[in-house]
């Protein structure tokens, strides 16, 4: 029988790899704005559940992996994710005591910040970012939060992970 710790080590990488696959799943070129920032959401979830074990280090590594796989500029996603997870860590007590609606509002803020820094570094290297479409992934990600939280809670119960 595996220990809870080793089961976390099992479920965490698998969920991250799944999120990375979904992040590069090809969407039609015009529909790419509708893709939720799954990896950011997932990391927020994990950091909320296990704040002692997981943090910005994981965010940095996952971000680098995302940069390599997506072919974006090296460090772009790592930067945005580290900042989003850092803010998440600062507000962890608040977030845990919130109800779902308040959490969704807070996720808008976190993912918004994530995308702000993501596209800030995109602008820095000379890309054009339409300002209105910038909000699409933020709002869609926030709408995904209850779904993702439900699914991950279910998986955690299924694999009997400790509630930290």
């Amino acid at each position: 029988m595996a220990t809870p710790g080793s089961r976390i080590r099992f479920l965490l990488p698998i969920s991250i790899v799944l999120a990375l696959i979904l992040m590069v799943y090809p969407l039609p070129l015009e529909w790419r704005w509708a893709r939720p920032e799954l990896l950011a959401l997932l990391l927020i979830y994990w950091v909320l559940k296990y704040p002692e074990q997981l943090g910005v280090g994981l965010a940095f590594l996952a971000g680098l992996a995302q940069d390599l796989i997506q072919g974006s500029v090296l460090g772009q996603h790592a930067f945005a994710l580290v900042i989003a997870i850092y803010i998440c860590q600062l507000s962890i007590q608040r977030l845990r005591s919130y109800g779902m609606a308040q959490q969704v509002a807070w996720v808008i803020l976190l993912v918004g910040l994530h995308n702000l820094f993501l596209y800030w570094s995109a602008v820095m290297i000379g890309r054009q970012v339409p300002i209105l479409l910038f909000w699409a992934p933020v709002l869609i990600s926030a709408a995904m939060w209850p779904l993702l939280r439900g699914a991950m809670d279910f998986l955690r119960r299924y694999f009997r992970l400790p509630a930290a």
Binding site: L20, I21, M23, V24, Y25, P26, L27, P28, L29, E30, R32, W33, R35, G55, V56, G57, A59, F60, G63, A65, L68, I69, Q70, G71, S72, V73, L74, G75, Q76, A78, F79, V82, I83, I85, Y86, Q89, Y119, S121, A122, M124, I125, G126, R127, Q128, V129, P130, L133, P137
Partner: protein, 268 residues
Amino acid sequence: MRAFILALIALVLVVASSLFRAQVDPLKSQLDVIAVPFYWVTDLPGRFDAWFDDSMVSREALQQENRSLKGELLILQRKLQQFATLAADNARLRQLMNSAELVHDRVLIAELIGVSPDPTEQVVVVNKGSEQGVFVGQPLLDAYGLMGQVIEVNPYFSRVLLITDSNHALPVQINRNGVRAVAEGSGDLYELKLRHVSNTVDVKVGDLLVSSGLGQRFPVGYPVADVISILHDPGKSFATVIARPKAQLNRSRHVLLAFSGKQASEAR
């Protein structure tokens, strides 16, 4: 404190990888290997679909397709008969004018296996890499026109910047009269803008733009776009000319990588 240091490292990486591209790119193409299984997985539905289309077809449908393909082949072959004499004519005329001969391009058939998830860039991934001789700057075509050029290559796949990316521009000429221009991507998939076309230039709606071969990156004479609107604003020094790309940038799965010109012989 840790977050600050990590964010700083990430930011330095961003700046370094855009400033020192020559040093970072080889390293990045090595590391790209970890992306291969991800594109393999995300391409599974597409391949399953193709397999399904191939194997789950009724005999009648196949026969019908065969008939229509034979008809199409006949029509194309008839066109090709004329083309042979035209090509010979063209070569003779070029000799008379002492200009360089047109070379035939060798092509490599590739398949689109991914689309860059970053909505601020228009980059697609094709399943041929440096092992098949693909090189940076190589033009990508589909059955209808020019699609883009290779910007990153590793042994297993390569990334292609589409002509409509807002960072892309290519030299074109109007097929009707040979007027040269630069077609610039606008970030919109169905729009190219012509830069610095003065108000007196002879350009009409419906004109076909073909690659002019200037800049030595794209081969001469491939269709690029149709002019769809021209706006002469007296207040501006240049006309606003909008063109729609001929290539089906959003739909083509089967694409061609062309080998031609100087870079191809260098890369080979």
